[in-house]
């Protein structure tokens, strides 16, 4: 069960090769390895009160009475907060949607009604964690239960329970997308493949650290300091400020080490508002630790999506002309980052394929389940899973080789940059070459031999391919396709780079890394420009609003750091380099800037190494010894740069325009063996090939690929947030929600190619979310294993043993979903 990789840990090379492209050891490691990381639960304040949330046991109910008096009477309990208070003190959260979804009133505690099991109703604060928990049991809440809506397919039925009267029904958002000429495509088609229903399941990445915060309120200046692990402070601030009726500068976000995010730490703003209100009300710091069960019940489920009445137009030779489908997205009880999921999939409308005629009818509904929020691969993963299922099912039904169908239909390297039917531009890539590499790594040539050998042992062997795009650096203008009234567009990220008084190079970022190694890769970029070593570059850990090193979209999400963050770093460093040279020019008596170069920790005249000004001298002159400098010398050596990707506002009418700047890709191949007696199966071989453009730190990139692969394997085989018909979550903890461990992993071979992006300053592409390819690959492998044993169709993205067994026992059930004419 060994793994082989393309990236060995490398001793750092000589500087003339450049630091970019080297697997420089991580700066973050030293503190993390010694248990000296600072995660939010490590932060303590004298007199802090621990908060515990009283949560709804019902999926849907009116709240008829709340009585906190008994809880508040307990010695050591500092106070409580109820929805009634929240409704008086705050305004409902801003809604991204227009009507009808935009009419719902979302507060940070339930007001009048609860809409999912686990929804927070009352907050109790006490001297110790245990006491807060005990006191919460003394809070009396009376409920009047209502019927629960758990199946999104029934959400729009006339007799469906309605979650939000303000919206007049469970429809949250609807949009129709159509490009090309579908009638012509279907007329031209030799075959039409119909798939009645496909289902992408509800799960998320369960970062090992749950959400949390420690919030302090400075009454004198009306300022909150929010120590937290929220991974998108830009979004949190925009949500919290108006709700709390305060300016955004009153909310200082501080993060340092974050124990995984994967998108699941974007929508904690409701709990943060509760902590802020409590800090002000009780006059003491408020500490919130979210426990695993709380997280599973209430946070960030990934979008659950159905695809109904799919029709695919195909030529006999396997050329795919187009498809139409009806996407039904289950948003859960509240729209927190939704309905952006309704447009974000369109970043990758055709997947990796050349079909031009596409229609997607997208409906998003509310149900009595936890609210969804971005999960690694957010909304693109669901859509790409759909396109990969279509490819495999078409190949399966028409008796074609799924490898050949992909190669025939993949967008070609020579077509890059490629404009998709809806105006997105895939910057670069060579999917066919990646596929060949993945097949080679997984030993595809010997598959039939292996299949026969497995059969002799009573096992069914299957091989599957999953290809996926990782679109990165959003154009937030796509939000206008959801709601034309919104005033968002473009994107940005900020960095500052300065020389301190003793010449220390200090960098601040606007991002909130959760293990992606930002300190390290930023230092590599700086070192290349300032011609020093990454060890000479001090990058501050984490994020702090007080550094003024952030902008509206700052955070770490959506596969963009290598583009937005590092481009901001590049820009700031180049500004600094320019200033250093202008300073030196003045100091050297007017030597032209072109005659100067940065080297050896300073700046010198090219060809005259004695004329050398070390960084220390530069820093000292500007900060403490600046008399006599020319009046017009505009140099501060403290450079702040805002990177702005080149975007236009999309055409809202045609739903056309570039929605993301870069398109990384991953292609995975999985080999499984199924025990036909039980439906149990295991992965016996696996290959993952990545292309994220220029790699600043190959080892860090590969680490992301591996981690995403492991998550995809877990999601494909075991991980699901499943509800019973009353809206109870059946997998509320790690006992029933099985996260794979070290023994569950297959041997892994990784490969990489680099197709630099022509659109980014460093040729990089954001990456980290392409691991969804693993879900596609495992689904395809399961279907392949069952070929000739009933020919069941894999129609769900999660295939635990029980489902595989059912496909073996009753293939007719899934086969009934597919028809070919």
């Amino acid at each position: 069960m060994s793994s082989s990789t393309t990236v060995a840990p490398s001793p750092v090379q000589a500087p003339q090769k450049g630091w970019a492209g080297q697997s420089v050891p991580r700066k973050e490691d030293k503190r993390l390895l010694q248990g000296e990381g600072v995660f939010v639960d490590d932060v303590k304040r004298h007199g802090m009160g621990y908060v515990h949330f009283v949560r709804s046991p019902y999926a849907h109910a009116h709240i008829t009475r709340i009585d906190v008096s008994e809880a508040e009477a307990v010695e050591g309990v500092y106070g409580t907060l109820t929805g009634e208070e929240v409704a008086a003190l705050t305004d409902p959260f801003f809604q991204i949607a227009g009507a009808p979804g935009g009419q719902i009133k979302d507060y940070s505690l339930a007001v009048g009604k609860v809409r999912y099991v686990g929804e927070a109703v009352v907050a109790v604060v006490a001297e110790t964690r245990e006491l807060a928990r005990d006191a919460s049991e003394l809070v009396e809440v009376d409920y009047e239960p209502l019927p629960a809506l758990v199946d999104a397919r029934k959400a729009l039925d006339a007799d469906a329970p309605v979650l939000h009267d303000d919206a007049g029904g469970n429809l949250m958002w609807h949009g129709s997308y159509e490009w090309g000429d579908l009638d012509a495509a279907f007329a031209e088609a030799d075959r039409v493949v119909r798939i009645e229903e496909l289902h992408f399941h509800r799960f998320n990445s369960t970062p090992l650290e749950c959400d949390g915060a420690l919030v302090e309120y400075n009454r004198g200046v009306g300022q909150w300091t929010i120590h937290t692990n929220n991974q998108f402070p830009g979004f949190a601030a925009i949500m919290m400020g108006p709700a709390m009726r305060v300016g955004l500068d009153r909310l200082r976000f501080v993060t340092q080490d974050i124990g995984g995010g994967f998108g699941n730490k974007i929508t904690s703003h409701p709990q943060l508002v509760v902590c802020c209100l409590l800090a002000r009300k009780l006059g003491r710091p408020i500490q919130w630790t979210e426990w695993r069960t709380d997280f599973h019940l209430s946070m960030s489920h990934g979008n659950e999506r159905w695809f109904h009445d799919t029709e695919v137009a195909v030529r006999s030779d396997g050329t795919l002309l187009g498809f139409r489908t009806k996407a039904l997205d289950d948003a859960g009880a509240w729209l927190r980052y939704e309905p952006l999921g309704g447009v974000i999939w369109a970043q990758v409308t055709p997947g990796m394929y050349r079909w031009r005629h596409i229609r997607v009818d997208f409906t998003q509904v509310a149900t009595n389940k936890a609210p969804v929020s971005p999960n690694r691969g957010y909304s693109r993963m669901q859509h790409l899973w759909f396109t990969e299922r279509v490819i495999d099912i078409v190949a399966h039904e028409l008796g074609l080789d799924p490898v050949e169908v992909r190669k025939r239909n993949y967008i070609r390297a020579e077509e890059m940059p490629y404009e998709t039917p809806n105006g997105c531009v895939y910057d670069s890539g060579d999917y066919a070459r990646m596929l060949d590499l993945a097949l080679e790594l997984v030993g595809h040539g010997e598959i039939e031999t292996r299949r026969a050998e497995a059969a002799a042992r009573g096992r069914l062997l299957g091989v599957g391919i999953g290809s996926t795009l990782d679109s990165g650096t959003n154009n937030f203008g796509q939000s206008r396709l959801i709601n034309p009234e919104l005033q968002f567009s473009g994107n940005n990220e900020v960095a500052t780079v300065k020389l301190d008084i003793f010449g220390e190079i200090v960098v601040t970022l606007g991002t909130t890394p959760q293990g992606q190694g930002h300190e390290t890769t930023a230092a590599q970029v700086v070192a290349d420009i300032l011609r020093c070593s990454p060890d000479d570059v001090h990058v501050r850990a984490g994020h702090d609003s007080y550094w003024n090193s952030h902008a509206g979209f700052s955070g770490t999400y959506a596969s963009q750091f290598a583009v937005t963050g590092l481009s901001a770093v590049k820009g700031a460093t180049e500004m600094l380099a320019g200033e250093i040279k202008r300073l030196a020019s003045a100091v050297f008596g007017g030597v032209p800037v072109e005659a100067l170069e940065l080297a050896d920790g300073g700046v010198r005249i090219k060809g005259s190494p004695e004329a050398f000004l070390p960084f220390m001298a530069c820093g000292a002159i500007v900060n403490a010894n600046n008399a006599g400098l020319p009046e017009d010398l505009d140099v501060t050596l403290n450079c702040r740069y805002v990177y702005r990707p080149p975007f236009q506002v999309p055409d809202v009418e045609r739903k056309f325009g570039n929605l993301t700047l870069t398109y990384a890709a991953q292609i995975h191949a999985a080999v499984i063996e199924v025990d036909p007696e039980t439906g149990w199966y295991e992965l016996v071989d696996y290959a993952a090939v990545d292309d994220c453009g220029s790699r600043i730190n190959p080892q860090i990139v590969e680490g992301q690929v591996m981690g995403a692969t492991a998550q995809a394997i877990g999601a494909a085989m075991h991980e699901v947030f499943e509800y019973d018909e009353d809206g109870n979550l059946l997998t509320p903890n790690f006992y029933d929600y099985h996260v794979p461990h070290a023994l569950d992993m297959p041997p892994l071979a990784t490969g990489a190619i680099e197709s630099p992006s022509p659109f980014t300053p460093l040729g990089t592409k954001g990456m980290g979310e392409g691991g969804g390819a693993g879900i596609h690959a495992v689904c395809a492998a399961v279907q392949d294993a069952l070929r000739g044993h009933g020919d069941a169709i894999v129609w769900d993205s999660c295939n635990p043993y029980r489902r595989v067994w059912e496909m073996l026992e009753h293939p007719e059930r899934s086969r009934a979903l597919v028809s070919v004419t």
Binding site: Q34, S205, C210, Q704, G707
Partner: protein, 158 residues
Amino acid sequence: MSGFASSLPVSVTVNGTTYEREVEARKLLIHFLRDDLDLTGSHVGCDTGNCGACSVLLDGTLVKSCMLLAVQADGASIETVEGLSEDGELTALQQSFSDHHALQCGYCTPGMLMSATALLRANPSPSEAEIRKALQGNLCRCTGYWNIVEAVKAATDA
């Protein structure tokens, strides 16, 4: 109810330092370490004893400190991640983790290090299968485990 007490005096040695505290019987060892002793290197990742982020060595035995009461550690000698390195010098195992990129967010890392330490003390040259079995009780969501296994393997050659 003679013999029973709701809080008890506890004397426990952690990484060589002895602490004496009065502790509620119901307090979990992990909370005692993190909240009472300010040793925040061991982490909490779940509430059902599955994730192993809280793993420590108790009298040389690897345990999950979320499934022990603090009072049960009375008289014991505990080792946590903070006790592995001395004066900021990484051990060979820790350095191997860094070399092999066996950590990303670092949250599972203390538990992984304690499990690997327990393994290597009992079995200085484990096979890959033995390493995986030894790490079975430590969940990671960032790395997929491959690099962690490599790091432990490489540390045995040191």
